[in-house]
């Protein structure tokens, strides 16, 4: 039943994505200066929103593990981190290709890009440290501390970049102050794609949760086998 639900959600996400793709490529008006390339935006922005959401969930789950000591929170944290890293990579790749055309460079130390890179390295370290601890409880305990610290640091770093001079296109989204230049149709396309990404991310997190839970059971069984 659970599996079927997951398949259905995954399929729904894919259908929405493809329908959006059709609309993005053929149905939406052109942006004035940028040509076709600006359409990357419809993937770039939602992937950032998705990775923010994933890291937020991971931070929250880390804190919750420290409070409740329930391994389910640990499993949620690691799953969210991993999916968040995948979407950060999507954001970085699409952003980099866009920058190649618009700014003429693949990479620039634009603070927001820098932030994304730092975040990627930080959470890669988180995933690496988990690999090195064999006992699931100790792993969860340490990962929760690292997850909490990481989330705090990532949030502060994100704030700090607002104070740095930025090359990144300014806020054009209606939710940000001073935005609102955007065609509502474009905004809707972004929101729809975000919905699809969030659905996809949720399916991925759910799959990872079940894998991680079973992995822990396997570890316990193996231990029991050795104890006999």
């Amino acid at each position: 039943m659970r599996d079927k639900l997951l398949y259905a959600a995954g399929a729904a996400a894919t259908v929405i994505l493809i329908a959006n793709l059709h609309k993005i490529l053929l149905g939406i008006p052109d942006e004035m200066d940028q040509g076709a390339i600006y359409r990357i935006l419809y993937f770039h922005v939602p992937s950032w929103f998705t990775c923010f959401a994933a890291f937020f969930v991971a931070g929250l789950a880390s804190v919750m593990y420290s409070v409740k000591r329930d391994l389910r929170y640990d499993v949620l944290a690691v799953s969210a981190v991993e999916v968040g890293v995948a979407f950060t990579l999507v954001g970085l790749a699409t952003g980099s290709i866009w920058a190649r055309i618009i700014w003429g460079i693949w990479w620039t130390w634009d603070p927001r890009l820098t932030w994304a890179l730092i975040t990627c390295v930080l959470y890669a370290g988180y995933l690496m440290m988990r690999q090195m601890i064999d006992d699931a409880s100790a792993r969860a305990r340490f990962a929760a501390v690292l997850g909490t610290f990481s989330f705090a640091s990532v949030a502060i770093t994100y704030k700090a970049i607002d104070w740095w001079r930025t090359q990144h296109p300014g806020p054009v989204l209606p939710i940000r102050a001073g935005g609102g230049k955007m065609d509502p149709e474009m905004w809707h396309a972004i929101l729809w794609n975000w919905t699809a990404f969030m659905l996809l991310a949720s399916v991925m997190v759910a799959v990872r949760i079940s894998q991680e839970t079973r992995l822990r059971e396997v570890e316990a069984l193996r231990r029991r086998a050795h104890a006999i």
Partner: protein
């Protein structure tokens, strides 16, 4: 009150053993000196303008590397005879243990850092370096505390890991980016002999906020880090 007293007992013990063997002090001090000398090949020592602009960044890179050498030893020192177990089983609170370890590393790192300032100023003929020495020392104190309080937590987390020497910098540097960023900016301003402008004050606030947030987190999570 008991927290401070217990932390002081731990810090005094650490400082006494380290001052007796000078293992990490020699390593960190020697390392800092070598990098400062090697830096003469990075840019022409005559170009004072460039040197002033790079000064804060260079110094804090040296401090960050030296810091990890000291922090690596911080909990590794307890490993030899299982001393850490004896400390955790004692009436010391975990928060006091982390605070004491952090304070000891703070003092040791300052012993390495403070001589670096005149050596750097002298070697490269930066006549302005001491004009705002009070502010510069303040920045060094705040930045170093941020490094050692996070470093103490992660020294404890990584002490039993495989590849401990690698994992500590891998986890700690990305976390430290906000505090290093501010320390570099402010140090550059002071070493160049300028006063703080309105724009720079935000970096000072960032650094203080960072220190407070992570000290609080470290103390709150100390029990999770040390008691399994």
């Amino acid at each position: 009150m008991r927290l401070i007293q217990q932390a002081w007992t731990v810090a005094a013990k650490d400082l006494r053993s380290e001052l007796r063997t000078k293992e990490s002090l020699n390593a960190a001090g020697g390392f800092a000196l070598v990098i400062l000398v090697l830096f003469s090949f990075v840019t022409d020592p005559g170009e004072t303008e460039t040197l002033y602009a790079l000064s804060g960044g260079l110094l804090w890179l040296v401090f960050a590397f030296a810091g990890v050498l000291i922090l690596n030893r911080s909990f590794a020192r307890e490993q030899a005879n299982d001393c850490l177990d004896a400390l955790i089983a004692s009436p010391l609170s975990p928060a006091a243990l982390i605070l004491g370890k952090s304070a000891a590393s703070f003092v040791l790192l300052l012993i390495v850092e403070l001589p670096c300032l005149p050596i750097f100023g002298g070697l490269y003929g930066l006549s302005q370096w001491s004009s705002h020495w009070l502010g510069l020392v303040g920045v060094v104190l705040l930045g170093t505390w941020g490094m050692t309080v996070i470093g103490a937590v992660f020294s404890a987390l990584t002490v039993n890991l495989r590849l401990r020497e690698l994992m500590l910098p891998m986890l700690v540097y990305p976390l430290l980016i906000p505090v290093l960023m501010s320390a570099m900016r402010l140090s550059t301003v002071f070493i160049s002999g300028k006063d703080l402008e309105a724009d720079d004050a935000i970096w000072l606030r960032l650094m203080i906020a960072f220190d407070i947030i992570f000290t609080a987190l470290a103390l709150a999570l100390a029990e999770d880090v040390l008691v399994s």
